[in-house]
Symmetry: none
């Protein structure tokens, strides 16, 4: 039986969700708290719950603060964020703070159940609507210079890989070895990129790669 704790200052909402959780086979709500502070004061290191469901917006100690505290003190304790906030920053922040799932309060019960089951089984769960935000964030800022975008699409896999290598402090000779190519070939790659990207030095290539998020900084 998965022992669940609910942390949310909206009592009605919390109790509704709790009854839903109790209706799921294998899940049982063993405690409810009004906010993060109440929750961590209640926590007993010898008898941790299996799963915590919590809101972000709460008085005294909000979901974000609680998440950081939990990640620091009980990194193995799984928690899912259940909230109405679907803005990118909230999502990213909670993910970074270690939440295993992020479910919107206006999701369907089935989504909710999926999230619980996925999280209890080594996974993470994020609503599809939110997923887009995350992917955008992985991309970085898509508002790249359009002219560069078209140049970018003219680069092949190998050139992209080369650009990534350029953004290290390896010499061309070392990069050649890494890519299993002759240094001469690397010379050719460089020259081709100089031409394509209209630059004249490795620095120019590196800056392009970073601007276009070919490498993560």
């Amino acid at each position: 039986m998965v022992e669940v704790v609910m942390v949310d200052d909206h009592v009605m909402m919390r109790q509704c969700l709790a009854s839903v959780v109790n209706s799921f086979e294998g899940f049982k709500v063993i405690h409810e708290a009004n906010n993060g502070k109440e929750f961590i004061e209640w926590l007993n290191p010898d008898k941790l719950p299996d799963l915590v469901l919590m809101d972000i917006n709460m008085p005294y100690m909000n979901g974000h603060e609680t998440a950081i505290w939990l990640s620091t003190h009980y990194p193995k304790l799984k928690f899912i964020t259940i909230t109405m906030q679907n803005d990118e920053r909230s999502i990213i922040r909670m993910l970074r703070s270690g939440t295993r799932g992020y479910v919107l309060k206006d999701s369907e019960i089935l989504d909710f159940k999926q999230a619980l089951e996925a999280v209890m089984n080594k996974g993470i769960y994020i609503n599809t609507v939110l997923y887009k935000h995350i992917i955008d964030n992985l991309h970085g800022h898509q508002a790249n210079l359009e002219t560069e975008q078209s140049v970018l699409s003219n680069l092949n896999e190998r050139e992209i890989e080369f650009l990534r290598w350029l953004c290290t402090d390896k010499s061309y000779k070392e990069i050649a070895a890494e890519m299993y190519l002759s240094p001469r070939t690397i010379d050719g790659y460089r020259d081709a990129l100089f031409e394509k990207l209209k630059v004249a030095s490795r620095i120019g290539l590196v800056l392009f790669a970073i601007r276009n998020e070919i490498v993560k900084i």
Copy 2:
């Protein structure tokens, strides 16, 4: 009934997984393909499957290429990546290409089932082990930034200015002229920064400058 297509060049693996999928209630494998090319040639716009499970490493047309093609031509067609590759680049790349799930081949059957169910129900599913990679990616390398912060505070105005010049495609000689210094002095600045920042090439300096937002990209 969720109609599933399996795309993987490892026949044994594919057939094993297919039989497992068939054993799941509500799922049925309706087609198997050896690679992306075979798969998209088989695809019938009038009768799309509900879910595609595919490997990354495949001949002729690999998972990444197939993912991009699918995202372009049938953005609503859901697919899950099932692979042995758990390196960050593969994961990020597939996520960016629109995969709804990422499951390692050495996962347990239950994980696998969770992934299928989560994806069919508006979610995405990613193994916990992989999740770390994604979060690290969202972070950027924040851990490093903190240690670099102290290094940064040891740099003087002139060095900062020099770092900014480094992030252009000017040569040291040209930078010297811009800063009204002798090229020799610039040499000294560079060497001092190499020492302070523990790097050994201009590229390293440029990356530092960008990471620490000394220059705006």
